[in-house]
Amino acid sequence: MKHLDEYRDPHLAGKLIDKIKALSHRPVRLMEVCGTHTVSIFRSGIRSLLPPSITLLSGPGCPVCVTATEEIDKFIKLGQQKDTIVATFGDLVRVPGSSSSLQKERADGADIRVVYSTFDALDIARRNPSRTVVFLAVGFETTAPTIAAAVKEAKKEGINNFYILPAHKIIPPAMEALLAGGELAIDGFICPGHVSVIIGADAYRPVADKYHIPCVVAGFEPVDILQTIYMLLSQIEEGKAIVEIQYRRAVNFTGNEKALALLSEVFETCDAPWRGLGTIPDSGLRLRNNYRALDIETRFDLTVPKAQDHPGCSCGDILRGVKTPLDCVLYRQVCTPSNPYGPCMVSTEGTCAAYYKYHD
């Protein structure tokens, strides 16, 4: 495992921890935007190794968690349509909507299938020509290009029973919305690795410049994350607020041209609802006119009543970084991974699930 071992090297990690400690002169709050980073930080026990002056906050980087309840309600309504197969990524099936979940609907007879890629959903459509197959297009810029490719393929092949229900989110507007809200005091962003492979690190420059916030794009191994923390501390110490890339083996400044071109051909930005953050302008993706007929909402009316989150659920505040799971009255008392009240306890990348699973 050569490509992984060097990023899990205890000796290298120890050196970085020493350097971090030497630079830690005052309280610093860093936010990891990506859910995979949250899990990696917990899994490798990084919090237990950092000096107490460094606080790591988890942001809105779990694609399942930021999906608004009204969107989940739409998914559920879709699952209840006759002769419809709903194809979805796994975690989404457990997220509670206002009164049900896709998992419960499946137990009640809805045809809801977990897939590993949009192309699997396309295959289901090919094999079931008499059924309507809808892929729930949830996720950030990481997954959007493959969904765009599947949409393009469906149109090219003339598969007329394949649709998507777009609920994509894009990350930089959410980072800006967090800072514009004014309630979040952070000193630096640990920027997402997978998303940045697609969009490139330059996408964070407006945030770094406007809010004078250091941004470092990080890889997912323990040494990657420790080095990122060190790079952020160095910037803070020097009074800098620039965008840097720690995850150079996968990320550049301009992104993946091919993926970006595909995204731009199939999707255009639109306003989107985020759990905890409200509607953020230009933070979602919808199909362009040329592909709009593949949006299931052109066929079914999926309007749902105003969504009701569970009273007391703090997922919204947790996604904004103004609360941790430990501040939530439901956490561990009644809200557990097997009986979740909010999405942050559901998703494997959710902050509450990570606290529950890894936090003493």
Partner: protein
């Protein structure tokens, strides 16, 4: 959100399965055997100490690299008996077959069961066959039950872990789980993945011949190593500390897990065991295990501690500390 229906999670072998058993089955069937929550029940009949176990196999796909549903059904029950220190003797086999199922596939499965039983030295002494209408089941489901004999001075139970015990693992984890997952979803990897499905009774017999200071044996099947360690910690009311760097994972398995965002700690194993044994015998046991084909990767992965009863801790590769919890839900690939 309370559940008023059975969900797939309830069969995951993780937390939801435990909660279902504790909240629904135990109150109905409550007795001293079930309350122990072990791999098989131990009872004395006519002065002979017996282990009795049953399990059902619903694996998809039914043929996979390293085995099939038939060999798995034999290995599973043989191993459940062996995990109480028993010598498995007789098995029953029950088939539920879907109308239209291929006769050639059924013959292949039966042949595979014959071979697996011969290797484990057990006799298939009784059986049952049911055929149900197409769609009423998925291809074929197999139930096996088995009995075995336990020496009078052997006392192995999930409740017997003692502070100071070393935790021994017989080899690499997650081989079966990742093989099934990737086969089921048609995912291709460069390096071939193969299930570890195998009978562990000879390994256990050799371990018991070398030491009677083995307190717990457990095969970490569904729910994986992480869930099994939690079960032991809960049943024995002890803490467990493991060291990440000592837990063996094949590079190809690790790579597949990384790609899918799945923790190998929670993937099923069908040919591995965990043992909690007195520290003074641990080295001897490892030596014995290394000589058996199914224990060649045996190693010490941690120890039983008196602090934090019911909890499992891990010292991570980079020296950090974290909790290892039970599996929640089926392991699913990440979106991002």
């Amino acid at each position: 959100m309370k559940h008023d229906r059975i969900l797939l999670d309830h069969g995951s072998g993780g937390r939801a399965s435990h909660e279902l058993i504790a909240s629904l089955f135990l109150p109905q069937f409550d007795n001293e055997f079930l309350r122990e929550m072990n791999d098989s029940a131990v009872m004395t009949i006519g002065g002979t100490k017996l282990a009795f176990s049953t399990d059902s196999y619903v694996v998809d796909p039914i043929f996979f690299p390293g085995g099939d549903i038939g060999s798995l059904a034999i290995h599973g029950t043989v191993n459940d008996l062996a995990m109480r220190g028993a010598r498995p003797l007789y098995l029953s086999v029950g088939f539920i077959i879907e109308e239209g199922f291929s006769m050639a596939d059924l013959k292949a499965i039966a042949g595979s069961m014959k071979n697996a039983a011969a290797e484990a030295g057990v006799v298939i002494a009784t059986g049952d066959t049911k055929v149900v209408p197409k769609g009423a089941t998925d291809k074929v489901f197999i139930n096996t039950a088995g009995i075995g004999i336990i020496d009078p001075d052997v006392n192995i139970s999930g409740q017997n872990a003692r502070p100071g015990d070393k935790i021994i693992l017989s080899g690499t984890i997650a081989d079966h789980g990742i093989t099934i997952l990737t086969c089921r979803e048609g995912l291709q990897f460069d390096a071939p993945l193969k299930s570890d499905s195998s009978p562990l009774n000879t390994l256990v017999a050799e371990m018991l011949a070398a030491s009677r200071k083995i307190n717990v044996l457990r095969d970490p099947t569904r729910g994986g190593l992480g869930t099994s360690l939690n079960e032991i910690a809960g049943q024995s009311r002890v803490g467990i500390r493991v060291h990440e760097e000592t837990i063996p994972v094949r590079p190809e398995v690790q790579a597949a897990c990384e790609l899918l965002g799945i923790d190998p700690l929670y993937l099923a194993n069908e040919g591995k065991l965990i043992a909690c044994a007195a520290a003074q015998d641990a080295g001897k046991l490892i030596d014995i295990m290394h000589k058996n084909p199914y224990g060649q990767g045996a190693c010490i992965i941690g120890e039983v501690i008196s602090d934090h009863p019911g909890k499992v801790f891990m010292k991570t590769i980079i020296g950090g500390n974290r909790i290892v919890d039970m599996l929640t839900g089926e392991p699913l690939p990440r979106i991002c």
